[in-house]
């Protein structure tokens, strides 16, 4: 296996990872940036597929600028790299286009971003039902809507972004179904006032949807999706402020061929859980976050987290966090004195505080409501990989499972190929509700390698039984 040494490895070339890598490299830190995709940018600044001539959105322009800056920097960018293990101090194992390899560096910045949370409902496993984030990927990279007629449902700012994207791509939006009420959105206005550009954009999205005649149902949630001979039938119902269905509330059904649904973003903690750094449960965003200091250092020396992987605060905050983490690495590796570091960091921290205020307001709008978990029917699948239902989870809970790793061993919930990335949050919330305990008690799935499933033959290469050296048998 080929292994190479450097000063810093950054995992993930989204806004945080790219900024961190460029900042560190500019200060003389030899930096390798590992990215799974073929182009840098992450999900927000996702590059369009080479096959498409796409409209130039603000994200596209900022993404192109980021990719150009990266190309002009001394950062060594490695694309198509699946990071599957991190061990030691620090060895990062990858599977890339040239096969397996690893990097060795004293400093590691984890910039793996966020995952989408989807609280289960009957029919969420049907083909044609995709995440809101998945819909943004289809729209940004391929200019295509998830279907001809899509229902857009869930919570947070992605709802309007996806619905408008579909309309612009020539698709139809059956309705936008928002858990929040207009009053809840209005309550965020003070925090959003710091970003008049984004506020104006949000208002423009709503105007565009009204113009397109798209019904917007606020204070509503998706109750179920069923397969029909022609497509999908999505049923929505009114909910209260805790996300509980209102008794006797009138359900409405929509005939569609696609549903895009999402209930906020969760920090991707695969690497930090694997490295056993300390995490804390943030009740405001209802997510687990790695514990970080002002330089984005984790509780393990040499490991830093920048961007949404440390707590979802959005793209503007991610770039600033990346730069601060890059500065902290330069300080810790002796490329920068404390005074030089502080002079640079101070201005960035002020900007970050402003960006974070907006990001935190959006995170609160995306936070799941307890009634959403309570409303999951007993026979609904929670763990998609292993088809484990809520009833099976609660059966195990009744037998004494009070923590997610116990639950995993008893029911296989979270044991499938996604490693609990999709079900872990819901499983933990259901256990906490069942036992009237808290998320600290129900815990987090333990991080395990490989971080992503990978074909064993690609790791071993050309290898036969004859290659195995057998030690002589021990004397009897």
């Amino acid at each position: 296996m080929n292994g190479r040494a450097t000063d810093l490895v950054v995992v993930g070339a989204g806004p945080a990872g790219a900024a961190a890598a460029m900042q560190a490299a500019a200060l003389g830190v030899r930096t390798v940036l590992l990215e799974d995709e073929a182009a840098a940018g992450g999900q927000v600044y996702r590059a369009p597929a080479t096959t498409r001539d796409m409209a130039r959105s603000p994200e596209r322009r900022q993404g192109d600028a980021l990719r150009a800056a990266l190309a002009g920097s001394s950062v060594q960018v490695e694309h198509g790299q699946k990071v599957w293990s991190v061990s030691g101090q620090y060895r990062v194992d990858v599977l890339g286009p040239q096969g397996p390899g690893h990097w060795q560096a004293p400093a590691l910045i984890v910039a793996t971003g966020a995952l989408e949370r989807v609280v289960p409902f009957p029919g969420w496993t049907l083909p044609g039902v995709v995440g809101l984030a998945a819909a943004t990927i289809l729209l940004k990279a391929h200019g295509m809507a998830p279907g001809e007629r899509t229902l857009v449902a869930g919570a947070g700012p992605l709802l309007a972004a996806v619905a408008v994207g579909i309309v612009k791509a020539g698709g139809k939006v059956a309705a936008v179904v928002d858990l929040a009420t207009p009053g809840e959105w209005a309550a965020c206005l003070p925090a959003m006032a710091g970003r008049p550009d984004l506020l104006a954009r949000g208002a423009g999205w709503l105007a565009r949807l009204r113009l397109a005649g798209v019904p917007i149902l606020t204070g509503h949630a998706l109750a179920a999706v069923a397969a029909t001979p022609d497509g999908l039938r999505a049923t929505v119902q009114p909910v209260d402020s805790l996300g509980r269905p209102i008794p006797g509330g009138a359900a409405t059904s929509f005939e569609v061929d696609a549903v895009a649904v999402g209930h906020g973003l969760i920090p991707s903690t695969d690497v930090t859980r694997l490295l056993r750094v300390e995490h804390w449960f943030d009740p405001a965003s209802v997510t687990w976050r790695p514990a970080l200091d002002a330089g984005f250092r984790t509780t393990r020396a040499g490991v830093y987290v920048a961007g949404d992987g440390g707590g979802v605060l959005g793209v503007a905050a991610a770039g600033l966090q990346g730069r601060l983490a890059g500065l902290a690495v330069a300080l810790d590796l002796g490329r920068l004195s404390q005074v030089q570091h502080d002079a640079r960091a101070e201005k960035l921290r002020r900007k970050l505080a402003r960006a974070a205020r907006f990001g935190a307001a959006m995170a609160r709008m995306m936070a799941p409501r307890p009634g959403q978990f309570a409303a999951i029917p007993a026979d609904a699948i929670v763990c998609r990989c292993e088809d484990v239902t809520r009833a099976e989870i609660e059966e195990a809970a009744a037998e004494g499972a009070c923590e997610v790793n116990q639950l995993k061993a008893w029911t296989r919930c979270g044991m499938g190929p996604c490693q609990g990335r999709v079900c872990g949050d819901t499983a933990a919330a259901l256990l906490a509700q069942f036992h009237a305990s808290d998320r600290e008690t129900t815990g987090l799935f333990t991080g395990r390698t490989p971080l992503r499933p990978l074909p064993l033959d690609q790791l071993t290469g050309e290898y036969g039984y004859a290659d195995i050296t057998l030690p002589p048998p021990a004397p009897l």
Binding site: D36, A38, Q43, A49, T50, T51, R52, L115, E116, T125, L126, P127, G128, V129, V130, G131, A133, A134, I137, L138, A141, H142, M144, P146, S268, I381, R384, C385, E386, D387, G416, P417, C418, R421, V422, R452, P453, P455, D457, Q458
Partner: protein, 88 residues
């Protein structure tokens, strides 16, 4: 210049843009059911499109791959990612 190319899913001939993401290409070609879940045998398709959920796993050239992390090439013979004969 982008090129339309032929490929197939479980023997059904399809066309798509070479260089496209395979998950998007299959969706655009109208193929949404990519596999059946191993325990309940329920239809599944692309869900997260970012390499996390593993729902879009298909067989490509004898290997199991995430369709959302695979690039479409001319002549690709893709098979459903359903694992047959797994004892439950």
């Amino acid at each position: 210049m982008p090129q339309r190319v032929d490929f197939s899913f479980d023997g059904v001939p399809l066309t798509g843009w070479a260089g496209d993401n395979l998950a998007a290409a299959l969706m655009q070609a109208g193929t949404r059911r990519l596999r059946d879940s191993p325990r309940a045998g329920q239809a599944r398709g692309a869900f997260c499109l970012m390499g996390s959920c593993q729902e879009c796993i298909v067989w490509v050239d004898g290997a199991r791959r995430e369709a959302c992390r695979t690039t479409l090439h001319a002549g690709m013979a893709i098979r459903s990612g359903t694992i047959a004969d797994v004892a439950v």
